[in-house]
């Protein structure tokens, strides 16, 4: 465990025109290809398994194990699909990565596809980030022209086509089976599992779906070895990851560090909280992870420790809120997001988010009563674990965790007859010294 930054994925971001092939190759880009092609595909899978790389999209499923689920005796084609539909409130690591160094991802796609014996790979990228889409498309084009993609890559006899597909603007398409539906041209709604994508995913063929950061990490594992990667991080959460600090922090941004770093260390690296303010609550990995408080500042940010603290590591989207922020208002905003993004397939999420929003809005206005908090928690109980996919679960996280930690603040809205906070004070343009 080290407490310094370990720039790997972000290492070349400050290079001149880092997104170009020339710059990427200058920094040793695409070197992992030949090394991988010299290995048997199964050995590449073994290397990723040995590295202990766990899915960077939030769930933390071991990446190598996922690849190992692909039935290689299945005569259908195998597909690699990169989930680049980064839409979670607070989460902002994949899009900067693809913006700054799209070739890192492309190289990862090639090595990963080789490992699972896919000859077609897709990057499903959020459609709203047009600039990123263009950089990705250009990077793929450059890779084709340079012989990193296409037929007989680097003379290895291995063929791969990579297609950049843009989503049409739905949070649910970050859910892997909804993403596959979208990729196949259907409405983005999650599929029934089983069959799992590893058996019958895209076009009913064996499919690996990985997060951008997971795939982008693969070349470094091949280049530096599984042991190098496993040497970073904690016992069960190996390697490095991008920590995205946002909100009331002096220097928001991407901080690449080994898993297990604490928020206290990260805030120090980011120059502390906003001048004159202190941390009130934070999310460890996007809005779907139960929020935490300053008492959790020293929780190691790895899968196990954050889980033990009652939340989830998620996407390491650390949204920091200082004492000027009304937690009820923040939670209402998130809930409105989930209501807007609920795909409508299942009842608890569709109807539950509709109702939660109304109950929360009433509380924020100081209407309602203390029993509405119990009602909210009961609604959450009826959604959590009852909905079709994890979107519904995520919608309940901010509500139940905020009531757990800030019940008094909810009650203050009732006794105050509305929100007791000065909302202007929480804005980034608030005059210095503004207080709640």
């Amino acid at each position: 465990m080290t407490d310094t930054l370990t720039p790997v994925l972000t290492n070349n971001w400050d290079a001149e025109r880092a997104w170009t092939l020339a710059s990427y190759e200058e920094h040793g880009g695409y070197a992992a290809l030949d090394k991988a092609f010299a290995m048997a595909p199964d050995d590449v899978i073994t290397a990723v398994k040995d590295s202990g790389l766990r899915g960077r999209g939030g769930a933390g499923f071991p990446t190598g194990m996922k690849w190992g689920f692909i039935p290689q005796d299945n005569p259908k084609p195998k597909y690699l699909v990169v989930n680049a539909d980064e839409s979670e409130p607070g989460t902002c690591k994949d899009i900067p990565l693809m913006m700054a160094s799209p070739h890192t991802l492309v190289e990862g796609v090639i090595v990963s596809s080789y490992a699972i014996r896919a000859h077609t790979a897709f990057i499903y990228v959020r459609g709203e980030v047009l600039h990123v889409v263009r950089r990705l498309q250009r990077a793929v084009q450059e890779a084709y022209l340079a012989g990193h993609l296409g037929k007989n890559i680097h003379g290895s006899g291995y063929d791969l086509d990579l297609i950049v597909h843009t989503g049409a603007g739905a949070y649910i398409c970050g859910e892997e089976t909804a993403l596959l539906e979208g990729l196949e041209g259907r409405r983005g709604q999650p599929r029934l599992r089983p069959p799992f994508p590893a058996v019958a995913g895209l076009y009913a063929s064996p499919t690996v779906i990985n997060n951008v950061e997971s795939i982008a990490s693969v070349p470094s594992i091949i280049t530096n070895g599984a042991a190098w990667f496993a040497g970073m991080g904690t016992e069960k959460s190996n390697g490095y990851g991008i920590f995205s600090l946002s909100g009331h922090v002096a220097n928001p941004g991407q901080y690449e560090a080994p898993l297990g770093i604490t928020l206290r260390q990260l805030i120090d690296l980011a120059g502390g909280m906003r001048e004159g303010h202190e941390l009130k609550f934070w999310t460890p990995g996007g809005s779907s992870t139960p929020l935490l408080t300053p008492e959790h500042l020293d929780v190691p940010l790895d899968f196990e420790s954050v889980g033990a603290a009652g939340s989830m590591l998620g996407t390491r989207a650390l949204q920091l809120f200082d004492e000027t922020t009304c937690v009820v208002r923040a939670v209402l905003r998130w809930t409105e997001f989930y209501k807007h993004e609920s795909c409508g397939k299942c009842t608890p999420c569709r109807e539950g988010t509709w109702w939660l929003t109304q109950t929360l809005a009433k509380l924020e206005k100081g209407e309602g009563s203390e029993s509405d908090l119990d009602l909210l928690l009961d609604q959450c109980d009826n959604i959590l674990g009852r909905s079709f996919c994890a979107l519904g679960d995520g919608a309940t996280s901010p509500i139940s965790s905020s009531i757990q930690h800030f019940r008094d603040e909810y009650l203050a809205h009732l006794s105050h007859g509305g929100c007791p906070f000065d909302h202007a004070a929480s804005t980034v343009f608030a005059p210095a010294g503004a207080t709640a």
Binding site: H340, S342, R350
Partner: protein, 816 residues
């Protein structure tokens, strides 16, 4: 659940549900396994005939042990979870977790539901209402808290027949899944998201599916209603009687809901061996023909050229006298007859009129067909619906199941979707129905079917002994085609079945309503068969001379060889030559018409005798697969007599006049008993004799020249048929009539086809020897020199107003 075609030993799995151990077949879903122990888990999206979706989450149960010693941490949807050995399931009956989960989902479902049950058609038979009572809470916390419901404008039409109330919809996706999976008509889909998600149509493709009514029936709330039934009655005021659909030869089970002597609606019955739980819209909505203004309700006699009311006794006496005085008389019937009625007509012809001049085929027919019916159809029954699903190949010859046998279509679509069955169709073009069955077309121009059928024996088509050949009645129009079909079956060992369009046709074959067949499939030519029947009927002997078929009867009437005619249920415009038929009616000395409604036949008949509609009599329809589908009368209406009772009345009067003998029955039960005791023929079956080819039809002007086409046609499911009268909303969902040409023909008439242009924007005039018709043109994969038009979708139809099928017509461009 539907039974699988081949009952093999199935592996069973033993699990514990609510403390009760139960063994069920492997892969059974928990929700259905629970039914085995008597636990009804509430559900909305689940439907045993649709793919599981797990959307509504109403059926959540607690699984403390998934069979591997580990439980699921969260409640599971029992509609998507297969059973596992040793699994432990606790439903709402024993698990507080499951019960709370279900109550929670129910509460969510109701927050955006309008609760307009007092004015909702579904109120009283609504799964949401019922399950809200059994698995929901009494008060709404949403309403108490001042919650604001999502609202939509009240119902919108998604087709002329189906209306959608989006507020009531619980988004279970049963309707959309049915349309996509079962009917193959994905014209409705879910659109938008979150609570604003809704069933939607594409504005240029309304929900014009032949099976749309099923979505109304399986809707678990009142979101889908029919224009026909909406606001007509409440479920608790209705009385339900099971019935059999009378619109085709499929024998689909229906449920007839009626109130105070009037049918209010019809629903699909659950008959796994036949229609599963689906019926066509025609079977569902086509019942108002019996309620229309021109129903005949009392006997009438023509006096001084005008019909006047008469008593039954007078009418019987006048009919008998007239028939006796007219000289030789014949019997023509249509396809609406029950088997019992057909038997009565068959017996009446032989016993009372002393003739074999009886034919039920009120459509183009041939001597070859009569021989085929005697040799290959009567008494046969070795193909069933399940066989269609099990067969590797199903060959369709002159049969368009979606239009002509909707239940067969659904079964073949199901089979094709499961990937087990390859449908091969000898037809002029790839219809939408064929595409939905993933069928392969063996193109055949009208008249060229014989060669196409012969080519099916090639190995590439896979017609083996396990294959099934379905022969449609239209094949009779091409000489030699039925023989070719029989030959194909004989050569390959494939099983063959004849699929007529009408409900009564197969029963009429069995009942002997044919010039060469006696009841029970007895060949008239066999002396022992005649003796058999004569003994059963208590008559000295039966006429031995083969009778005239329908065409010959018409010709004989016109010529004066025949004087009298007893006719029931024949529409002149369905006959091979409507003009000749009408002329024959005019020439006939004496016509007795047994009819439901005023028709062109009753307009010239000398005696008109009203007969009972389906609802007023018991009966039997024999389906294409030889199944006797009995049904009871829905209403007891003593003034409404079935055909057989009317014929018995005339026979009695004729007997009193010294001609023939009484028929010996007056009720349906008596006829059934008589048919039962007569039993089927146990002697040898006659061999198929194709006979001589008929004289080539007179070539119409310009045949063989450019612009001349062979006419292909069949009747669309929903068209201008008289049994769809009285239900405008149904008729409005009919596929609009179009002319179909192949691309080359289209371009030769209209110039280059603009592929970007939506179909049907140009008009063509098709002209035959009986008239011409102008309709929009659509391009299809027809062979060269063939044009297709629907048979009964305009005016009086193809036979009356265009030309005989297979004959030569011309096609010209037309302007509006």
């Amino acid at each position: 659940m539907t039974t699988t075609p081949e009952r093999t030993e199935v592996d069973t799995v033993t699990l514990t549900i609510d403390g009760v151990q139960v063994s069920v077949p492997k892969d059974t879903l928990v929700i259905r396994a629970a039914e085995q122990v008597g636990v009804q888990i509430p559900r909305f999206c689940d439907h045993p005939l649709l793919d599981p979706v797990g959307a509504c989450r109403q059926c959540l149960v607690d699984i403390p042990d998934a069979g591997n010693g580990r439980g699921f941490p969260k409640p599971q949807a029992s509609c998507t979870l297969p059973v596992a050995e040793g699994m432990v399931v606790n439903t709402q009956a024993t698990s507080e977790v499951a019960d709370k989960a279900q109550q929670g989902v129910m509460e969510f479902l109701l927050i955006n539901h309008p609760l307009d049950c007092p004015v909702c058609d579904k109120g009283g038979e609504c799964p949401l209402q019922n399950q809200a009572m059994s698995n929901g809470r009494g008060e709404s916390r949403f309403a108490e808290g001042g919650g604001v419901k999502r609202t939509f404008p009240k119902p919108i039409n998604i087709s002329a027949q189906v209306l959608l109330d989006r507020e009531r919809c619980v988004l279970c996706a049963r309707c959309t899944r049915f349309s996509e999976q079962v009917a193959g008509d994905p014209f409705i889909a879910l659109a938008e998201r979150g609570a604003l998600q809704q069933v939607a149509i594409y504005e240029r493709e309304p929900f014009e599916s032949y099976f749309s009514g099923n979505t109304i029936q399986i809707c678990p709330v009142g979101a889908l209603t029919s224009a026909d039934y909406r606001f007509r009655s409440r479920p608790f005021d209705l009385v339900s009687t099971p019935g059999v659909a009378e619109h085709d030869a499929c024998g689909a089970a229906i449920r007839i809901d009626h109130r105070r002597g009037k049918v209010m609606r019809r629903l699909a019955g659950n008959e796994p061996e036949i229609n599963e739980e689906w019926i066509s819209d025609k079977d569902r909505f086509g019942f108002r023909y019996a309620q229309v203004e021109d129903r005949i309700t009392y006997p009438q006699i023509r006096e001084d050229g005008e019909l006047r009311p008469a008593s039954w006794t007078e009418a019987f006496a006048v009919a008998a006298r007239g028939l006796r005085d007219a000289g030789a008389a014949a019997v023509l019937t249509g396809g609406r007859l029950t088997a019992e009625d057909a038997y009565a007509y068959a017996k009446f012809a032989r016993v009372s009129l002393g003739t074999n001049d009886v034919d039920f085929r009120a459509r183009p027919h041939s001597a070859e067909e009569a021989s085929f019916l005697a040799s290959h159809v009567a008494l046969s029954g070795d193909v069933t619906y399940s066989d269609l699903e099990a067969a590797p190949v199903v060959v369709l010859l002159g049969l368009e199941p979606e239009d002509e046998a909707a239940t067969i279509f659904l079964r073949l679509r199901k089979a094709a979707r499961q990937g087990r069955t390859q449908v091969v169709s000898v037809a002029p073009w790839s219809s939408r129905g064929l595409t939905k069955m993933k069928g392969r077309l063996v193109p055949a121009a009208p008249g060229a079917e014989v060669e196409a059928i012969a080519s099916l024996a090639d190995a590439e088509h896979g017609v083996s002994k396990d294959a099934v050949i379905l022969v449609g009645e239209r094949l009779a129009s091409t000489h030699g085609a039925l023989s070719a079909a029989a030959d194909l079956a004989a050569r390959t060992g494939a099983r063959l079945a004849w699929v007529p369009r009408r409900a009564g046709d197969r029963g009429a074959v069995e009942a002997g309503a044919l010039p060469t067949l006696l009841p029970g499939g007895r060949p008239l030519a066999e002396a022992s068969a005649r003796v058999d029947v004569a003994a059963a009927w208590g008559t000295q002997s039966l006429p031995a001379k083969a009778g005239r078929d329908g065409n010959a009867i018409i010709a004989a009437l016109a010529k004066g060889d025949l004087g009298g005619l007893v006719i029931g249920g024949v529409d002149p415009d369905d006959t091979a030559d409507p003009a000749a038929f009408r002329a024959a009616l005019d020439t006939a000395g004496f016509v007795v018409s047994l009819e439901l409604r005023a028709t062109d036949v009753t307009a010239v008949a000398d005696v008109v005798l009203p007969v009972a509609p389906m609802t007023d009599k018991a009966g039997t329809f024999v389906t294409w697969d030889g199944r006797a589908r009995e049904f009871d009368a829905v209403f007891t209406n003593p003034a409404s007599l079935p055909d057989l009772r009317v014929l018995a009345g005339i026979a009695d009067e004729l007997a009193a006049l010294g001609q023939g003998a009484p028929l010996g029955f007056r009720t349906v039960a008596e006829v059934r008993a008589e048919m039962q005791s007569l039993g089927p023929w146990d002697g040898g079956r006659p061999t198929l004799d194709a006979g001589k080819a008929p004289k080539a039809p007179r070539p119409s002007k310009g045949a063989g020249k450019a612009g001349s086409f062979a006419l292909a046609t069949w009747k669309q499911l929903i068209d201008l048929g008289s049994m769809q009268d009285g239900e405008a909303h149904l008729r409005a969902t009919a596929r609009p009539p179009v002319v179909r040409l192949n691309r080359a023909a289209y371009e030769s008439v209209f110039g280059l086809l603009d592929d970007t242009e939506p179909g049907g924007s140009r008009l063509a005039t098709v002209t035959g020897d009986r008239g011409s018709i102008t309709l929009p043109v659509v391009v299809a994969d027809l062979p060269d020199g063939v044009v297709w038009v629907p048979a009964r979708s305009f005016g009086r139809g193809v036979l009356a107003e265009l030309a005989s099928p297979g004959s030569s017509v011309t096609v010209k461009g037309a302007t509006t």
